[in-house]
Amino acid sequence: MSSASPLVPQGPAVDSAEHLYRGITSINWWVSEEQRPSSAAFRHAEFSVDIASLAGSPQHTLSHLTPGSGVVSFNCGQARQLGFDAHQEPDPNHPDNHAHANVYNLSSGNQIKKAAQKLVLLCSVIVEPNFVS
């Protein structure tokens, strides 16, 4: 994600059958007692993911994240039904990451937090975060 990026998708929509990897890059985004991410990991107008089929493995995603980060996965089509629209676009911070996509949150007003929480419930934990505290 780049904060300077326009919030209008530039790349092609990701196929709804795809699964997307989202990094849990802060210990603060992991609710350990419930074994799930915080909605804060998805509370953005736009956020980065990797397309699982192009990444090949979660290690691909982990390779450009802070050590100790985790990875969760969710289905692109189910997320789109919640208002999270994924488009395959380059990552300016990691231009070699061919699997990168941006997810645009189309919710607004008093739907934003509900949408983020519903996305949490879609997630499967692929790699549990393991930050050294």
């Binding site: 904060s3 990094g23 603060n28 509370r43 953005h44």
Partner: protein, 140 residues
């Protein structure tokens, strides 16, 4: 590395602990989060806004001692933060969206509750009402 594909199974254990000294511990966490640098989340996240942090401290210190369940304090990539209480399917989030506004989520789908709205950060009665709602469902 603990690698597994799982859904969210709550591990067995007791309900949330009570923390009568929650204000001090939350403010200590706020002090810790104040040190976050730009890109702290590896995704271009911003350092926390000083005005948001100050408003969050004042808010926490304004809560009565009877609010004894300590929230998680979670930084947001936009430079703000939220307080979170979790107990199984029941969730309460207070996002300090601006120094004046809290955007909250009151969430318990099995109970048919999915409420999102805002209130003034100085409206302590509203905050207490919401936290007491959360606490009422955690006494198992």
């Amino acid at each position: 590395m603990n690698q597994s594909a799982t859904n969210h199974a709550r591990p067995p254990g007791a309900g949330p602990q009570l923390h009568p000294d929650f204000a001090d511990s939350v403010c200590a966490k706020l002090d810790e989060l104040a040190k976050l640098q730009e890109n702290w989340d590896s995704y271009g996240g911003h350092a926390l806004d000083a005005n948001i942090l100050a408003a969050a401290r004042n808010f926490i210190k304004s809560l009565p001692d009877s609010i004894a369940i300590r929230p998680r304090v979670v930084p947001m990539s936009a430079g703000n933060l939220q307080f979170e209480w979790h107990h199984g399917s029941r969730i309460l989030e207070f996002e300090v969206e601006t120094p004046h506004i809290i955007h909250y989520l009151r969430w318990d789908p099995p109970g048919g509750i999915e409420v999102e709205d805002t209130f003034e950060i100085t409206d302590i009665d509203k905050a207490v009402e919401l936290i007491q709602w959360f606490m009422s469902g955690t006494s198992t």
